[in-house]
């Protein structure tokens, strides 16, 4: 993996608050990289540091092998798709898209041609004469995308690009962004607070919390082997097991995660007491999700279709293979 963007011990403080705190991060060329975290976790500041809108308080940023120190945003080979799209209201769509070419002195005929090509790429051919105010949210998003890509950046930065779209449109745009990234082969860095979005779209994900990176890895890493309680909690869907529970089941006294599909449930042996009570069940097609209460610990279990689903209030026993228990960093 050749490095596209490299952050070395980068911090950004705002007064007493450290929005980004000594982050080390390498993003590869042609990678689709997601920065995932709750709001205020530093992921957007991190993106703005790469774009050049913020300067690091300390640390070092390298873009494509060159230092980013003192390089203003307009001389960086990266472009941004803003959360509010930031289309220029006084320009029509074609002039918005061609803006980057215009300020670089590209002659008008070529500007026209490349803007139209970019609009075709985002499936808005012939929209050039319209005003941003006449477009829907999804269309504005596409114009913002075209306006960034027309400059042929080496990396595209996207700040919560799908946040303002409704669910159906968002899923469609996720697909299109992935296709676009694969066709262009450039680096996409994408900020989101939606774990589903991050895990389904990105090659690799960095999970942010409190200005630090909690874990970097593939979607599978993050999902199956969360490094800490925070990651397991934020990414969701895994069961988080407290140290006592793990110890009781023969493991070390440590926090651990356990995926719902790794747990088996069964009827208690005749005369034996159940360990857990069924709180709720929900049918989801291929599986049923069963929520259990095991002496105060909430466990999510998935039961494949065709297997018996216990009734609400029923006492059950739970079993799992020790190899599926994934140990995590202590108290985090």
């Amino acid at each position: 993996m050749t490095t596209a963007i490299s952050l070395q011990k980068v911090s950004r403080h705002f007064g007493a608050i450290s929005a980004v705190d000594a982050i080390d991060l390498d993003i590869g060329r042609g990678e689709f990289f997601a920065m995932l975290g709750p709001s205020g976790s530093g992921k957007t500041t991190c993106l703005r540091l790469i774009a050049g809108f913020e300067q690091p308080t300390s640390g070092h940023i390298e873009l494509f092998g060159e230092t980013a120190e003192g390089v203003p945003p307009y001389r960086r080979n990266v472009n941004t798709v803003f959360q509010d799209y930031a289309l220029f209201p006084h320009l029509n769509v074609a002039d918005n898209v061609a803006y980057g070419l215009m300020v670089r002195g590209v002659p008008r005929p070529e500007r026209r041609k490349r803007a139209e090509e970019a609009l075709e790429m985002v499936k808005l051919p012939g929209y050039g004469e319209r005003r941003p105010g006449q477009l829907s949210g999804g269309q504005r998003q596409r114009v913002a995308l075209a306006r960034a890509l027309v400059n042929r950046p080496k990396a595209l930065l996207l700040d919560e690009p799908l946040g303002a779209l409704d669910l159906k449109l968002r899923e469609q745009m996720q697909e299109e962004l992935k296709t676009l990234q694969r066709t262009l082969g450039i680096t996409f860095v994408f900020v989101t607070h939606d774990q589903g979005e991050a895990l389904s779209m990105a090659d690799r994900v960095a999970v942010f919390n409190d200005g630090r990176i909690m874990q970097v890895g593939t979607a599978e890493d993050i999902y199956e082997r969360p490094a800490s309680r925070f990651v397991a909690d934020f990414v969701g869907s895994s069961n988080i097991l407290p140290p006592e529970f793990v110890a009781h089941h023969g493991g070390p006294r440590q926090w651990a995660s356990l995926r719902p599909e790794a747990i088996r449930i069964g009827r208690p042996k005749r005369g034996g007491a159940g360990e857990a009570t069924v709180v709720s069940t929900s049918y989801q097609g291929a599986v049923s999700r069963v929520t259990l209460d095991a002496a105060g610990l909430r466990l999510i279990v998935t039961v494949p279709a065709g297997r018996p689903v216990p009734a609400i209030g029923e006492k059950v026993v739970v079993a799992f293979d020790r190899q599926h228990v994934h140990l995590m960093d202590g108290e985090a």
């Binding site: 774009a51 050049g52 809108f53 203003p72 945003p73 307009y74 001389r75 472009n79 941004t80 803003f82 959360q83 509010d84 799209y85 930031a86 289309l87 220029f88 209201p89 006084h90 803006y99 980057g100 215009m102 300020v103 670089r104 941003p132 105010g133 949210g137 504005r140 306006r147 960034a148 400059n151 303002a164």
Partner: protein, 269 residues
């Protein structure tokens, strides 16, 4: 939904009376511009004549005063456009110590009674031993013209989303290009409106001018002097009529220009 009930008669009469109270005196000025009586304001006018238009046209002192007023208003407006815009940009685009104080100090001249501004300027000029001239009038007028431009510009800056400027930088435009292609077009109508208001304010200003002018007479000062002399009184009315019409045009234009610029620039989703 509009109310279906008819407006009560009493309300109609009250509204009409209010409007009449505000505007009849102005009409009266127009009427006196055509009276045949030139020593005093006599009602009803003994007769009507259009001769005062010609008389006014041929009076060199009117033309001098008018020329001075136009020059003062134009130059103060130009100064205000530059300083007001820069100040608005500083206050709304960056954070620095004393920002709130500066924004208050800039607005202060319009909140202060003109007489205070006038006295303050006059004493400042005499302490600094600056002789009263055309430029002292311009300086005096610029103090309140800046406020008008600043207020318009700062409101527009506030409504221009900050990410527009970042987007421009991001797309490769430097500071000057961003100002030229993004900030200025977004500010344009606000500056036009602010400039027109500033021009109108300067054009009919009396109080600050009396304190900052030397021998020169701006048009409003000239009118004040004329009222004291009972000679060719309707000439003053003719000039007043022209001033009303001339100042009304930019103010109406400013109103229509800013009325349509209400949507937030770049804030739509």
């Amino acid at each position: 939904m509009r109310s279906e009930r008819a407006t009560p008669l009493g309300l109609k009469v009250a509204a009409g009376a209010g409007l009449a109270f505000l505007h009849l005196p102005i009409l009266l000025i127009f009427v006196y511009a055509f009276t045949t009586e030139d020593k005093s304001y006599q009602w009803p006018p003994p007769g009507f004549t259009a001769q005062w238009l010609a008389v006014t046209w041929n009076r060199p002192d009117v033309w001098q005063a008018l020329a001075l007023s136009v020059k003062v208003a134009a130059i103060s407006t130009a100064i205000a456009l530059v300083l007001g815009t820069l100040c608005a940009a500083a206050v709304s685009q960056s954070r620095f110590f004393g920002r709130e104080t500066i924004s208050l100090l800039v607005i202060l001249p319009i909140a202060l009674p003109g007489i205070i501004t006038g006295i303050a300027l006059r004493s400042a000029f005499s302490i600094a031993e600056i002789p009263f001239s055309f430029w002292t009038i311009v300086l005096g007028h610029a103090t309140f013209c800046v406020v008008v431009v600043y207020n318009n510009a700062v409101a527009r800056f506030r409504r221009t989303s900050a990410s527009l400027i970042e987007a421009s930088f991001d797309l490769g435009a430097d500071g000057f290009q961003t100002f030229r292609y993004v900030i200025l077009p977004n500010l344009g109508t606000a500056l036009l409106a602010g400039g027109m208001l500033a021009f109108a304010l300067s054009f009919d200003e009396v109080i600050v001018t009396t304190f900052t002018a030397g021998q020169q007479q701006t048009l409003p000062i000239w009118m004040l002097e004329e009222l004291v002399r009972p000679r060719q009184r309707p000439v003053t009315n003719v000039v007043a009529m022209v001033v009303v019409i001339v100042t009304l045009i930019p103010i109406l234009a400013a109103f229509y220009i800013t009325r349509d610029g209400d949507q937030i620039a770049g804030g739509g989703k």
